[in-house]
Symmetry: C2
Subunit: 360 residues, 2 copies
């Protein structure tokens, strides 16, 4: 495949902050960008040379969009499969349809990961209340019932504790196809953000330790403070997944850190076929940012160095956290990023702040 | 003056690479941007939420542009004075009309600098051939005859050597109002890139050592390798100039490093009332980039830390230099920036490459 030359156009499906930061990285390399998103208030529209505001089911608009681009990527995993297929038929879609199809269904994703011999929580597909009772019998409680599709930031999931009624849990998710996952008693949540090229070149950023609040990422610390052995295991797993998906671009693999027979190991929780919130620190904290790395991979360019530049603390600005912009700007070393969203709704990711400390 | 809040709009006059990089920095802080430039191929248009392609003499368009912005800045010093006045009458124009008026005429600029008691080359205004003969008699040869206005990258200037005919030199510049400047035998060319806020806060980046090729900046090295005393002198001069201009934003002061009685001193050559090519290294090489710093200053925000992060080498990609993008991308540690210009004309600034080395 011929690399995209600077001056070419990167098509981006999805107009949120991830699309915005991909577009900013593309601009730095002299690329043009075209963002496709139905939402009129898309933050990415503001920094892209072109945008199309049409539905993901608008075949003519999708084709016209693809025709302007040299390569097409996306910033969220819920791009409908049909949308992806229409785009992929016209232009290279990176990552590809397989990565999307595998990761946008939690059951398919878990089956795929387990099929690679990688540890996951125990899981069962659940299509109805009877299935759920049976699965609970096999997996035990506590367990987590999740919709197979369209879940993010804790949406579409319910914890089933010893006292929870299975029928209530089932009704909460309104009869959607579900997956029941055994609860993993973890010591920490970590993620690998890594890139792979079409030629099979692979580069991972250092392992991220993540803390969540109300299921939304709150803070990322790097180094993650885990054993070198566990970090190697985590990166090897991400590489295996990327390889098996014939993945092109940046992906993130979220994992639980668990202790087995005294040693730290990781259990895969979720794959995000895109740049990831836990990789935002790479903008200031690594030689190449995850956004630059993604652009390099999808354009068919060599990957940049993922070398970390110091000890990292990244925290998200959720909702009205962003009102403190003035104080943050005044703190030396605080790198403020705001996404240009008009309304600071509760739970909404408005920006983030990164600090890079010299390493002891 | 009330600070501009994130979500506000920064108006940028001029659509070249400097405007583009200002717009990218503004986006990172959640600001919207509106770029005004008559050139349809303006690189900054591609990354701005809005752009207006009209002449600098189009009063109605200028007013409509100013009305969309919370604050207006510019990326080049040849904004016509009348344009600046129209904008400044509607919205805060930062830096202001005084900075523009002083720096867009080489004679006014030199007179202003000398009036502050700062060393410059000897200079005389030249309005005709007779003036030139007289000025040459006073200043001696070699000397440099420059148009007072619209000079950049060596355009509009001619060296007068012992054998040069004054009449020929005069004719070369086609009768424009000129300034004759004594030639300064310098040891190095250096620049101070610094920011000042409306409240008088001042912060300078470390002194830059610049080399030129055919009058165009070729490379910048930091640290500049000059004595601490000379660097302090250079920064103090930039602070004095910024203060005297009641300057708001980033400015650059280009200087010659000379040796007098065994010690290094600086002689001011030129003031640029804007972000500057010799400050591009700050994107990766400083805690805050010159573009972020400029946005902070013009928005009425506190300045960021100008702390340098390593030893710096920045080199420009001029004309077909940028054709080597693939090799540059493959070199670990080379940070490639391309400006999205379609045509690689000789002498045209297409991009730059920065390397940051750990300091010994």
């Amino acid at each position: 495949v011929t690399p995209v030359a600077p001056g070419g156009t990167l098509g981006i499906v999805g107009g949120g902050q991830l699309g915005r930061m991909i577009a900013l990285a593309a601009a730095r390399y002299g690329l043009k960008t075209h963002v496709y998103c139905p939402d009129p208030d898309s933050p990415a529209f503001e920094v892209a040379g072109r945008h199309t505001r049409r539905g993901y089911d608008d075949e003519a608009a999708l084709i016209a969009f693809a025709d302007t681009a040299d390569v097409v990527t996306y910033e969220f995993e819920n791009v409908p499969r049909r949308t992806a297929e229409i785009l992929a038929a016209r232009k290279p879609l990176r990552p590809g349809v397989l990565a999307l199809a595998t990761t946008q269904d939690r059951f398919e994703e878990k089956r795929f990961v387990a099929g690679l011999g990688i540890a996951t929580a125990p899981f069962r597909a659940v299509g109805g209340e009877a299935d759920l009772e049976q699965a609970l019998g096999e997996i035990g409680r506590p367990a987590v019932l999740k919709t197979r599709r369209f879940g993010y930031d804790g949406k579409g999931q319910v914890m089933i504790r010893p006292e929870t009624s299975a029928a209530d849990a089932w009704r909460t998710l309104r009869g959607a196809s579900c997956i029941l996952e055994g609860f993993v008693p973890f010591e920490a949540e970590v993620s690998v953000v890594a890139a792979r090229t079409a030629a099979g070149e692979f580069a991972a950023f250092d392992l991220c330790a993540n803390t969540h609040s109300h299921h939304i990422l709150d803070a990322t610390r790097v180094p993650a403070g885990v054993s070198a052995q566990a970090e190697r295991e985590a990166v090897a797993i991400a590489a295996l997944i990327a390889e098996a998906l014939d993945y092109v671009g940046v992906l993130a693999v979220e994992m639980f850190l668990v202790r087995k027979e005294g040693a730290e190991h990781v259990v895969v929780n979720e794959i995000a076929p895109r740049v990831h919130n836990s990789g935002h620190w790479t903008i200031e904290g690594a030689d190449t940012s995850q956004f630059e790395q993604h652009v390099r991979a999808v354009c068919g360019w060599p990957l940049g160095s993922p070398q970390r530049l110091g000890r990292i603390e990244m925290r998200n600005l959720i909702g009205h956290d962003a009102d403190a912009w003035r104080e943050i700007l005044a703190r030396p070393g605080d790198h403020l990023h705001l996404y240009g969203k008009a309304e600071a709704r509760p739970g909404r990711k408005m920006g983030h702040v990164t600090r890079v400390f010299p390493e002891a």
